[in-house]
């Protein structure tokens, strides 16, 4: 293997490149990214960038000197438009092809849009540095922000916008923000924090169209006929994997690139990060996880598999994410979507600190910690990794340290 081509120059792509170098790969690494910036980090976009605590320079994933030391053939501001699996080449938007011995696809996801309205002044999504700076500059005392979608992104932005003095409304189509993933009780608890801080939360409603005047947004019309006046609207209704450029390649791109437990999706091709749907033996199925840590973990695992393909080490990682809601830290180990039951295993939501366990089948498949000391949460990761029986955790809550 002489040349590795990585498409996507963000968390997963850079982790792959860094791990390849650390593990001694001396060949050529070409990294192709369509954004014009050096690789930067996204989680602070909805947190420190929106509140104004950080400027964009702090977002760099690695200092420029580290990148130089990695000796990458970095092609920024260029998108890949196709892959030819027979010739083993990637085609670039401005013409030209790049040959590969190994290809790593790390193209992430993009926001799902609502028809009509995007591109108008005042209508926002939040995925890139530009998105965050544009929204940041519009927030301020009394400015009216309507957030469509009460997921992690929508609720984090609500928290940041309230800290900037904006007047914030969340429109959630489900019964409770966040509930689809973390369950009703935890969802209700976090929603309660937002209500206490003055966020208006409307549930069971869908946004239908945007009202506009002189081209700019003035409000959002809901499916019950009501109109919410707005200076700005954030559409935070989920994401779509960036796999359009792989159409016709023969790769399985139904909800992201399907990979085995090593991140392999076809001979000579791996995928990592938000765009990848890895088989995870711990949960017995392929899951696509949009968490920052998974991007790094998968990048490291792909590098290892590229360099030592003869001794594969199937990864069964326990997914991890955190979210900051005002001063409350929420952390989770495991995989929560599709859980069949949840229960408070430690602490008490009424006191603002609790550890909630999630069951699917007979096992503990995930935990969520709200306001718990971070150190007390880590042992639960091992409990999930061991596939602890649900009956065991509900009878003797605290796992041995």
């Amino acid at each position: 293997m002489r040349r590795v081509v990585v498409v996507g120059a963000s968390a997963a792509g850079l982790a792959t490149a860094a791990a390849l170098r650390q593990q001694g790969f001396g060949g050529l690494i070409t990294m192709i990214g369509d954004e014009p910036h050096l690789p930067y980090d996204r989680p602070p976009l909805s947190k420190q960038v929106l509140t104004g605590q950080w400027d964009a320079e702090r977002l760099l994933l690695r200092p420029e000197s580290d990148l130089k030391a990695m000796n990458l053939d970095l092609r920024l501001g260029v998108s890949a438009t196709a892959v030819d699996r027979t010739a083993r080449t990637v085609t670039l938007a401005h013409g030209g092809t790049v040959p590969y011995d190994a290809l790593v696809i790390a193209t992430g996801v993009r926001p799902r849009l609502l028809p009509g309205g995007h591109g108008r002044p005042g209508v926002h999504v939040l995925r890139t540095r530009e998105d965050a700076l544009a929204l940041r500059d519009r927030l301020g005392d009394g400015r009216r922000l309507v957030i469509i979608g009460g997921g992690f992104l929508g609720t984090e932005v609500a928290a940041a916008a309230r800290q900037r003095g904006a007047d914030v409304t969340i429109v959630e189509s489900g019964a409770e923000p966040l509930a689809r993933i973390i369950g009703r009780a935890a969802g209700r608890f976090i929603t309660g924090i937002h209500r206490d801080r003055g966020v208006r939360i409307l549930t069971g409603l869908k946004a239908e169209t945007f009202d506009t005047a002189d081209g700019a947004v003035t409000g959002v019309r809901l499916d019950d006929g009501r109109t919410l006046p707005a200076d700005d609207v954030l559409v935070a209704t989920g994401s779509v994997p960036n796999t359009d450029w792989l159409r016709g390649s023969g790769l399985d791109i139904d909800d992201g690139l399907l990979c085995d437990a090593h991140g392999r999706c076809a001979p000579g091709i791996h995928a990592a990060g938000d765009v990848a749907r890895w088989f995870n033996p711990l949960f017995g199925r392929a899951i696509r996880v949009e968490h920052r840590t998974s991007a790094s973990e998968q990048g490291i695992a792909v590098a290892r598999d590229l360099l030592t393909p003869a001794t594969p080490q199937p990864a069964a990682p326990v997914p991890y994410f955190w979210t900051d809601q005002y001063e409350v830290k929420v952390q989770s180990h495991g995989y929560l979507p599709g859980h069949e039951e949840s229960a408070v295993l430690d602490g008490d939501l009424a006191e603002g600190r609790a550890l909630i366990g999630y069951r699917r089948g007979r096992h503990l498949t995930g935990v969520l910690a709200i306001g718990m000391p971070a150190k007390d949460v880590r042992p639960w990761r091992a409990a999930v990794a061991r596939r602890t029986e649900w009956a065991a955790v509900t009878s003797a809550p605290t796992p041995a340290r």
């Binding site: 580290d66 840590t293 830290k329 952390q331 971070a374």
Partner: protein
């Protein structure tokens, strides 16, 4: 070899402790990463480099000098 942690970037995930338990720990009160040893021996380089990559806050730096 010197290890640096940017406390403001640390998100208290504890991922560094999982890969390099002899080098990192978490503060009891807020989970922010702390160094058990800021000038570790070269045999720890591999673990620390993995911590640099795995850290979800991009908060760890390793100076080889």
């Amino acid at each position: 070899m010197k290890v640096h942690i940017d406390e403001h970037k640390c998100v208290a995930s504890g991922q560094c402790v999982l890969v390099a338990p002899d080098v990192f720990d978490q503060r009891d009160e807020d989970g922010v990463a702390v160094l058990l040893d800021d000038s570790p021996t070269p045999d720890k380089a591999g673990q620390i480099q993995e911590a640099v990559v795995i850290c979800p806050g991009a908060a760890i730096r390793l100076d080889r000098a």
